[in-house]
């Protein structure tokens, strides 16, 4: 059996397994309320919460985009381990303050916080719509990236039996099916299994690569021989960009709608606290591992273009599978792990999109069962639209998509972090800050000025955003 045939059989078996989990989750539902569908009745325990947080945080971007970026940049991509960890650090600013209010008020979406905090002010409604709009655009971008990654993985690992286009359509339909049927419960259960597959698979792949290379020292030497600039200390501009990326990823990821909804969905504060303590170690077992995998690809594949570099992971799997029958089985397991990571992020994004579109943008009440149905329908529409886009827009790198998404999402930070810590903050100034910061970020991206002296334009926008929100609130206190 070839690697492509084994990959194809595994893909079909995996999709069938997901359908079974979706049906079990549907049977476990308690009612038709949004809280049950979108938050699994706020009953996720430590183990499932930790694994669903992990599988959601580590996506197609991590599994394909990060090895690709390590291949492009070299050793300086070690920064990825730091910025993934900064997310769990930045949660200290959000979780202890937001969780008690969320439990007391029964929040379902991020917009519920904005409504609660600023709803009594004249600009409160406009602010909620602005925050929801930014988050939805960022989520749609994220979904697009996952669909693109699904197509790349399916095509490479089935040896072309499943084309990129068919992979995008088949896997998008699978995610839509189990998310619609089983809601957060199906998503969290599949995430748990997907996280375990991902952890085991990546460790096995790195082990094989290190054995093949003759150890870490030989691997570094081989990388340096092909591209000596990759082991050099980065320039001042790149080092500034390193620090800017830590700030960008740490702060923007804290306001990921799907992350905020997992804060709401935890069974208790203690559950959340323990899950976060475990999550902080995952960049070492995952991001560091995928970075080393991307570096190991440098001497193996020379001259890959910017977009082609995103496929170093499936290319490595193909090579590994050729080493023998045991390697074939192991490579197929890694493929499933990587695909699982991508799908687990896509399902979480889709669930958040549905709830936010129905409640935050269209204003349906979070206790209304009709909001669940409306959310499912809109999510299906967005999924179809993004799948269509993924079929035509292939010439964009995954890291490019991540940066664009984060630079927009980070503009929502004052509405959460500053608002949670400062009672004097007012809706109007926050709205002005968000608009100014977003304009700067989007304008910079459109004009091709993505960085100022190495600092992301979105981070510069956030500084302006914070300054306006704080100064205008101080000028006209409540």
């Amino acid at each position: 059996m070839s690697f492509g045939q084994a990959g194809f059989a595994a893909l079909l078996a995996y999709v069938a397994g997901l359908a079974v989990i979706a049906e079990l989750a549907r049977r476990a539902r308690r009612d038709d309320s949004p809280a049950d569908h979108f938050l699994a009745s706020r009953d996720l325990g430590v183990f499932v919460l930790f694994l669903t947080l992990y599988a959601t945080a580590y996506s197609g971007n991590s599994l394909l985009g990060y090895p690709g970026e390590a291949y492009r940049r070299g050793f300086s991509w070690i920064m990825a381990t730091g910025f993934m960890m900064s997310i769990v650090v930045a949660f200290h600013l959000l979780v202890p303050r937001l969780r008690p209010v969320a439990v007391r008020e029964g929040f379902v979406t991020p917009g519920d916080w904005v409504r609660h905090r600023f709803g009594a002010e004249p600009a409160g409604n406009a602010l909620r719509l602005a925050v929801a709009g930014l988050m939805i655009v960022a989520l749609a971008n994220f979904l697009f990236a996952q669909l693109k990654a699904m197509g790349v993985m399916a095509e490479h690992v089935t040896g072309g039996i499943v084309s990129y286009e068919l992979g995008v359509c088949l896997l998008a339909a699978t995610v839509l099916f189990y998310e619609t049927l089983g809601g957060m419960r199906a998503v969290a259960w599949t995430d748990a299994g997907q996280a375990i597959l991902m952890l085991v698979g990546l460790s096995a792949l790195l082990g094989w690569l290190l054995i093949e290379a003759g150890g870490l020292a030989s691997l570094s030497e081989a990388v340096a021989a092909v591209r000596p600039e990759t082991i050099e200390v980065p320039s001042t501009r790149e080092r500034t960009n390193w620090f800017s990326t830590i700030v960008l990823m740490g702060l923007a990821s804290v306001v990921y709608p799907q992350a905020i909804q997992r804060v709401y969905a935890a069974r208790s504060g203690r559950t959340l606290q323990r899950s976060m303590a475990l999550m902080t170690f995952m960049p070492i077992t995952t991001t560091l591992v995928v970075t080393l995998i991307g570096l190991a690809a440098i001497p193996r594949f020379t001259g890959l273009g910017a977009v082609e570099a995103d496929s170093v992971m499936p290319r490595l799997l193909e090579e590994w599978a050729a080493a023998g029958p045991v390697a074939l089985v192991a490579a197929v397991l890694v493929f499933l792990g990587a695909l699982a990571a991508i799908m687990s992020t896509a399902d979480s994004v889709l669930l958040s999109l549905g709830s936010m579109l129905a409640e935050d943008l269209l204003g349906r009440a979070h206790w209304d069962a009709g909001a669940t149905r409306l959310g499912k329908r809109i999510a299906a529409f967005v999924m179809v639209a993004m799948a269509g886009l993924a079929l035509v827009a292939r010439d964009v790198t995954l890291w490019g998509l991540i940066e664009l998404k984060m630079e927009l999402l980070i503009q929502c930070v004052p509405a959460f972090l500053l608002a949670l810590h400062w009672r004097g903050l007012r809706a109007g100034p926050v709205l002005v800050g968000i608009l100014a910061g977003s304009l700067l970020a989007v304008g910079g991206a459109l004009l091709g000025e993505k960085r100022l002296a190495g600092i992301h334009i979105g981070v510069v926008g956030l500084v302006l955003n914070f300054a306006l929100a704080a100064c205008l609130s101080l000028r006209r206190p409540r």
Partner: protein
């Protein structure tokens, strides 16, 4: 005491993040090798491992008041 310790841990994490970026070297240098990796990469990894340990401790010291009081 618990709150003070948590703040100290978070401050330490901030310091480790600053240290993880190789400001202490000039751009373009190759430097030495430690455990088969460039030394500035090993420093960064060391800082991130320490961040993980301190952050886990900080989370275990974090009170999340479920009553919202």
């Amino acid at each position: 005491m618990k709150r003070y310790l948590r703040r100290m841990l978070l401050a330490g994490i901030g310091g480790l993040y600053v240290l993880s970026v190789p400001w202490y070297r000039s751009g373009g240098e190759t430097g030495g090798s430690v455990f088969g990796l460039p030394d500035w990469v090993v420093v960064a990894i060391g800082c991130y491992v320490a961040v993980a340990v301190l952050n886990a401790a900080a989370w275990l010291l974090t009170d999340i008041d479920e009553d919202g009081t």
